[in-house]
């Protein structure tokens, strides 16, 4: 039996602001993980990553991050991705302050 593929999102940092962005199903970038496109097929995920990588003037360092489906969209499975979608814990700066 093939290995079960952990769902992914494409994430990167925005070129100008450097903040965390995610690729949506309609090819736009979102600042909000819950609006990101969940990728459940490995081949499709690799293709989406290549497409994201080609958008050099918008995004830096695109990669696939593990997620799990939640009530309001994808949720992080690792604390690093949880911090990336939130901001630092010592100040109310970053994403948490922009909501």
């Amino acid at each position: 039996m093939p290995r079960i593929y952990t769902p992914k999102v494409v994430t990167a940092n925005a070129l100008i602001e450097g903040d965390v962005i995610y690729l949506t199903a309609n090819d736009s970038w979102t600042r909000d993980l819950s609006s990101a496109e969940i990728l459940t097929d490995e081949a499709h995920a690799q293709l989406r990553l290549l497409e994201a990588d080609s958008r050099q003037a918008e995004a830096v360092g695109a990669y696939l991050a593990d997620v799990k489906p939640g009530k309001t969209g994808p949720e992080p499975t690792h604390f690093r991705e949880d911090f990336r979608r939130t901001g630092p814990s010592n100040y109310f700066h970053g994403k948490q302050a922009q909501r």
Binding site: I16, F83, P88
Partner: protein, 557 residues
């Protein structure tokens, strides 16, 4: 203080203008990230977890009030109103926009600051004893030599593509406050038969493979410094491993070849290089030294200080904890703590930076220092001004009396900011400091250095903390390993790992057990944590950290 020559100013301006064009080309799409990355790193610009980070060099940790004010201006205009002082005496801005960075660099250049060689595989900012030129225990001010090294190493054509980064630290005092034994090269000023020179230490470093540096030359005459440094770096440049990033630092080269082999190669190279230095470096050094002439110290009564010290217990506690002995009669070195319990170690707001600049201008011969322990120093203050300074510091939450105590923690930015981090450091530092403040034990515990890193790269110097804490990712959970008995001074030592790591919510109780064990075990108040550890060994402290092991042993018996 050193003032830029026309050459320096033109060099920084031209570099800034090149970088401005590079940023423009990146934004308009003519440069890819792979092409742009090495260019931005040459100019101190990183991309972190949530934003870009700009690392500004503070050469040998020395700032004027105008420079500190400009850092405050940058923090307020282009960042989020604060900056972070690092363990290599730099300042990091955590939120600049790429498109603003050229303007930031131009603003910094106006006060002779830059971000050149604060990143990349080059010779980095030279760090120095933060008490340089002020301390009572000093042979000579190391900063003119540090400035000479900066000029030699900046844009040095042979050393722009080294196997890895290269860090130099220098101290003029036998009491090592510059961590010279944990640098690629550590320089300690010494004298031999009345002649000034250096003990040269090579191959120290922390990180994944921590090493205490080894003496490569016991006495190097002062005039031979640059050719000798050039010999060391060029030997390593050829010998250092480029096949494996984790084995590329000079500490590994020294370890693999042995110090005797390295010494022989360096001495041979030195003989070749020495004639090429025809004395111009010494002429330049003499010019630099003139700019570091000590300020004209005032002779005045210290009555105001004596009165406040006798009558105000808060002032007295601050004075006892935060002042250090100055070489001039009636003067003191003021250490301003950026470690108020619960705050982020090393962070200063723009308002705090402005106040520090004002105080330096009014009372401190216009000088400030940044320590590798992430505090700010006013190196030259007449004691009669201390009560006024203390009052103003209090108003900006800068009068915490905790220098060298348990809440004076070094912490790297950790996973709150850094892409390399495997766990957070800042919240652990905040919680330890807050907890021991609540217990009111801090002053009773006495001298104690806790150092926290959020990954094995050890920016938080955990290996040389009396108590070191290393944050790791263990199966997707933050986990903290504790080391004991480290020492960053002239008696440098690496801490010993105690055993299994602790989950985030177990760390503070573990540290509490450790501290209570120390309080029970010490001979008396004069025996510090480190002294007690050295006398007793690890066992009683491990027993306090891991009580469950003791129980299971007791049950088995």
């Amino acid at each position: 203080m050193y003032r830029y020559s026309d050459f320096d100013a033109a060099f920084v301006a031209s570099r800034n203008s090149q970088f401005r064009q590079q940023v423009e080309r990146r934004i308009d799409g003519s440069l890819t990230e792979d092409e742009f990355r090495p260019l931005r790193l040459m100019n101190g610009l990183y991309l972190q977890l949530h934003a870009y980070m700009l690392r500004v060099a503070i050469p040998y940790g020395t700032l004027s009030s105008a420079q500190m004010r400009q850092l405050a201006y940058v923090a307020q205009k282009w960042d989020r109103g604060y900056g972070h002082f690092t363990t290599r005496q730099n300042m990091q801005f955590n939120w600049p926009k790429l498109s603003d960075v050229p303007d930031i660099l131009d603003a910094l250049a106006k006060v002779q600051l830059h971000a050149i060689q604060t990143s990349g595989n080059t010779i980095r900012n030279v760090t120095a004893d933060h008490f340089a030129g002020a301390s009572a225990d000093e042979i000579a001010d190391p900063r003119p030599v540090a400035e000479l090294i900066r000029q030699w190493s900046t844009d040095h054509p042979e050393f722009q593509f080294l196997p890895r980064k290269f860090k130099i630290a220098i101290t003029g005092s036998p009491n090592d406050r510059a961590v010279t034994k944990a640098h690629d090269i550590g320089l300690r000023m010494v004298e031999q038969d009345g002649e000034p020179g250096f003990e040269v230490i090579v191959g120290g470093g922390l990180g994944r493979t921590p090493m205490i540096g080894k003496v490569v030359r016991e006495f190097l005459p002062r005039a031979d410094l640059l050719p000798y440094l050039e010999a060391i770096v060029s030997v390593w440049n050829l010998l250092g491993r480029r096949d494996n990033k984790f084995k590329s630092r000079i500490k590994i080269t020294v370890h693999e070849h042995g110090i005797d082999d390295i010494r022989a190669r360096v001495e041979e190279r030195f003989e070749t290089l020495k004639p090429a230095f025809n004395g111009i470096d010494q002429t330049i050094l003499a010019g630099i030294e003139a700019q570091f002439a000590p300020p004209e110290f005032r002779v005045a009564p210290t009555d105001a200080y004596d009165t406040a010290y006798a009558n105000d217990p808060v002032f007295r506690s601050w004075a006892d904890t935060n002042l250090a002995a100055h070489r001039a009669e009636g003067y003191a070195i003021v250490q301003v703590s950026l470690k108020k319990q619960g705050e982020t170690p090393g962070d200063a707001s723009a308002e705090q930076m402005r106040l520090l600049a004002d105080l330096a201008e009014r009372y401190g011969h216009d000088e400030l220092r940044i320590s590798h322990e992430q505090n700010v120093i006013l190196p030259h203050v007449h004691k009669s001004d201390l009560p006024a300074i203390h009052a103003e510091l209090k108003a900006q939450r800068l009068a915490t009396a905790n220098i060298g105590l348990i809440s004076d923690i070094i912490a790297c930015p950790g996973m709150d900011y850094c892409t390399l981090a495997t766990a957070r450091s800042i919240p652990i530092a905040q919680e330890i400091a807050t907890r021991f403040d609540e217990l009111k034990l801090e002053h009773d515990i006495g001298a104690l250095k806790i150092k926290i890193s959020g990954c094995i790269n050890a920016c938080g110097h955990h290996h040389v903390g009396h108590i070191g804490i290393l944050g790791l990712d263990r199966a997707g959970v933050e986990n903290y390993q504790i080391t004991l008995g480290g020492d960053h001074t002239e008696t440098a030592a690496l801490g010993d790992r105690t055993g299994r790591g602790f989950a985030a919510d177990e760390v503070i109780p573990a540290i509490e057990r450790l501290i209570h064990a120390y309080l029970d075990l010490r001979d008396d108040r004069s025996e510090s944590f480190l002294d007690a550890y050295r006398r007793l060994g690890a066992d009683p402290f491990k027993a306090a950290l891991y009580p469950e092991k003791q129980e299971s042993r007791a049950n088995a018996a």
